[in-house]
C-alpha cells in the first residue's frame, strides 16, 4: 500500500499540484494568483517539484511578456492520486 508523499504533503505543494491537475499548463502569475502566494514561495516550490520530476516548466510568452509555464508530469499526476488516496484512507481509518 502506498503512503503519504512527503514531497507534496505540505499544504502549499498539495494546492500547487492539485491546481495543476485541472489544466495542462498554467502561466506562473496565473498560478500565483490562484494559490494566493508570493512569487518567491511559488518559485521555491515549483523548483523543488521540477527537480523531483513532478512538474515540468518551460520559458514562454504570455500577453507579450516572457514568463514561465508550469505543468504536472505523469509522475506528478500519479503521485498526487496516490497521495490523495492515502490521505483518504487515513481519514477513513480515524473515523
Amino acid at each position: 500500500m502506498t503512503g503519504l508523499d512527503p514531497l507534496i504533503h505540505a499544504p502549499t505543494r498539495l494546492q500547487l499540484v492539485t491546481t495543476l491537475s485541472g489544466v495542462s499548463e498554467a502561466e506562473f502569475a496565473t498560478l500565483r494568483t490562484a494559490l494566493e502566494v508570493s512569487d518567491s514561495v511559488l518559485s521555491k516550490h515549483v523548483s523543488a517539484l521540477v527537480d523531483a520530476g513532478y512538474l515540468h516548466s518551460r520559458k514562454g510568452v504570455h500577453a507579450g511578456r516572457r514568463t514561465t509555464w508550469v505543468g504536472l508530469t505523469p509522475v506528478g499526476r500519479r503521485a498526487l492520486h496516490e497521495h490523495v488516496a492515502a490521505v483518504r484512507r487515513l481519514i477513513d481509518a480515524v473515523e
Binding site: P11, L14, Q15, V17, T18, T19, S21, G22, V23, S24, E25, A26, E27, A29, T30, L31, A34, L35, E36, H62, A63, W69, G71, V84, V87, R88, L90, I91
Partner: protein
C-alpha cells in the same frame, strides 16, 4: 458542519487544495464568439472538402486544402486567445476544437462529411451547405458539452492531445491532401 480549516488537518488540506483548483478553473473563460467561430471554421472545411473530393480536379484539391487551412487557422486563433485570456493551456479543449474528440461530435462530423460528399457528387449544393452547417453546429455543441463537463470536473476532462501531437496530425492531414493532389 463547518470545518475548523486547520491546515494541518488532512481533510482540510485536501479541501483547501480543491478550492485552489476550483478558483483557477471557475475563472476560465472562452474567447468571445468561440462557438460561432468554431462552427464556421468546421462548416467551411466540410463544405470545401465535399466540393474538392467530388470535383476530383487539381482545383478541387486546392479548395479542399484551403478549407483545411481556414479551419486550422480558426482553431489556432481560438486556442491562442483562450490561453492569452486565461493564462492556462487545456489540452482537452484543444482536442475538442481540432479533433472533434467527443463521440457525438465525431459521429456528427463524419456523417455530415459523408452526406456532403455524396450531395456534392450529385451537384445538390443546397444539401452540401446543410451538411456543412450541421457539421459545424454539431461540433460546436460537442465542444459546449465538453466545456460544461470540464467545468464540473476539471481533473477528469483536462487531458487531450498535446499541441505537438495536434501539429503532427495537421501536417499529416496536409501531406495527405498534397498526395491526393499529386496522385490525382
Amino acid at each position: 458542519m463547518e470545518s475548523s480549516r486547520d491546515p494541518e488537518d488532512p481533510l482540510t488540506a485536501l479541501n483547501v487544495a480543491d478550492d485552489a483548483r476550483r478558483r483557477l478553473t471557475a475563472g476560465l473563460r472562452l474567447p468571445t464568439g468561440f462557438y460561432p467561430m468554431l462552427a464556421t471554421g468546421i462548416a467551411v472545411q466540410v463544405g470545401a472538402a465535399a466540393y474538392g473530393i467530388a470535383a476530383q480536379t487539381v482545383t478541387g484539391v486546392a479548395v479542399a486544402l484551403a478549407g483545411v487551412a481556414v479551419f486550422l487557422g480558426v482553431a489556432a486563433l481560438l486556442l491562442h486567445r483562450f490561453s492569452r485570456i486565461n493564462g492556462v493551456r487545456v489540452d482537452g479543449l484543444a482536442s475538442q476544437v481540432v479533433l472533434a474528440a467527443g463521440a457525438g461530435a465525431s459521429v456528427v462530423y463524419l456523417g455530415a462529411l459523408a452526406v456532403g460528399i455524396v450531395a456534392a457528387f450529385d451537384s445538390r449544393w443546397w444539401l452540401v451547405a446543410v451538411a456543412a452547417v450541421a457539421a459545424g453546429v454539431g461540433c460546436a455543441l460537442g465542444a459546449r458539452h465538453w466545456w460544461h463537463a470540464y467545468r464540473h470536473d476539471p481533473a477528469a476532462h483536462e487531458r487531450g492531445a498535446s499541441p505537438r501531437v495536434l501539429g503532427v496530425l495537421a501536417v499529416v492531414a496536409c501531406l495527405g491532401c498534397a498526395a491526393l493532389l499529386v496522385l490525382g
